[in-house]
């Protein structure tokens, strides 16, 4: 599992670079690097379906980010100024919250089964009846389109709503003169 740890460290370094760098285009390229590391880790945990969707969705996210940046202030970020009082207070409160959050989450993660020993109580049933009852050889497609199809309907609705929102917001404003 050494390659998994290497990609995790690369992902965290790229994430820290993306939040701290001054140039906006470089930050978006680091976002792309994080997305690709997530896709490669999906391959390592034997999830090829997720890897395909993650790669293409992440390429489209970077394209949309670059389309927005190139229409606006092009390059540099305006944060070279000194920190105001409210910003120092927010950093301090965030540090306190992150400490408490980490303690609670690490305590909760100890109760879960360790990495690599998934208890497949519900999944054992789906694997047994997947091919006879639904007929598809891809068990993930079986689950999202036959056993849990209402979730797919909800997701199609969310995607449709966001497309309507984008198209409606970018109309030409103003009345005909």
């Amino acid at each position: 599992m050494i390659e998994l740890y290497l990609f995790l460290i690369f992902m965290l370094i790229a994430a820290i670079i993306a939040t701290e760098i001054k140039d906006l285009l470089a930050a978006v390229i680091s976002l792309g690097a994080v997305g690709f590391s997530v896709a490669i880790m999906f391959i390592f945990v034997q999830a090829p379906d997720l890897a395909i969707v993650q790669i293409v969705v992440e390429v489209l996210t970077v394209v949309v980010f670059v389309a927005v940046i190139l229409r606006t202030t092009h390059i540099d970020e305006t944060i070279g100024k000194k920190l105001s009082g409210a910003q120092i207070l927010s950093i301090f409160l965030y540090a306190v919250f992150a400490m408490l959050f980490l303690i609670v989450v690490l305590r909760a993660l100890q109760e879960m089964p360790a990495f690599g020993d998934a208890t497949m109580k519900v999944a054992a049933e789906y694997i047994k009846i997947g091919l006879p009852q639904a007929g598809g050889a891809n068990l993930v497609a079986d689950v999202i389109l036959d056993f849990r199809a209402l979730d797919t309907l909800g997701e199609a609705t969310v995607l449709f709503t966001s497309v309507i929102g984008v198209v409606a917001l970018m109309r030409k404003s103003g009345r005909k003169r």
């Binding site: 394209v63 007929g135 079986d142 199809a149």
Partner: protein, 144 residues
């Protein structure tokens, strides 16, 4: 928006055909190999976006392509709901898998799953291309 150089245009003409066929393959074999409607739909949208980026606004009028894209997205969504409602009409259950399951591991098996994949593929492709057209191609006035 402007197009790109002649080399990019020639290679795009060849590459768009291959990407389109690959996207359709991923959508149709969604019940046998990894992929399905969402991945294939995004890949087909990528083919259209590539052609638009390489040729600029010269290929067709932008308002016309926005209207056609919205129409296709509505067709995909209505097809998906229509398949679900047909399950309600024929048997008594919404979204039941009512077509015969067929021979396993063949292309025409697994009931309604290939048709649902096609409907979702059309919907996702048209939706993502509409988002790209609205953000990158439509000219709007600079002040509100």
């Amino acid at each position: 928006m402007k197009g790109m150089s002649l080399i990019v245009k020639s290679i795009t003409n060849i590459a768009v055909g291959f990407i389109f066929i690959y996207g359709i393959y991923i959508v149709l074999h969604g019940h046998l190999t990894p992929g399905g409607g969402f991945a294939g739909g995004v890949i087909i949208a990528g083919a259209f976006i590539l052609k638009f980026l390489a040729f600029g606004s010269a290929i067709k009028a932008e308002r016309q392509s926005s209207t056609i894209t919205s129409t296709f997205e509505s067709i995909g969504g209505l097809l998906f709901i229509g398949i679900a409602l047909m399950g309600l009409v024929i048997t008594g259950t919404f979204f039941l898998n009512f077509l015969p399951k067929g021979i396993q591991l063949h292309l025409l098996s697994a009931g309604i799953i290939p048709f649902c994949n096609i409907a979702i593929g059309i919907k996702v492709c048209a939706g993502l291309f509409a988002i790209f057209l609205a953000l990158a191609a439509v000219k709007y006035s600079m002040e509100d």
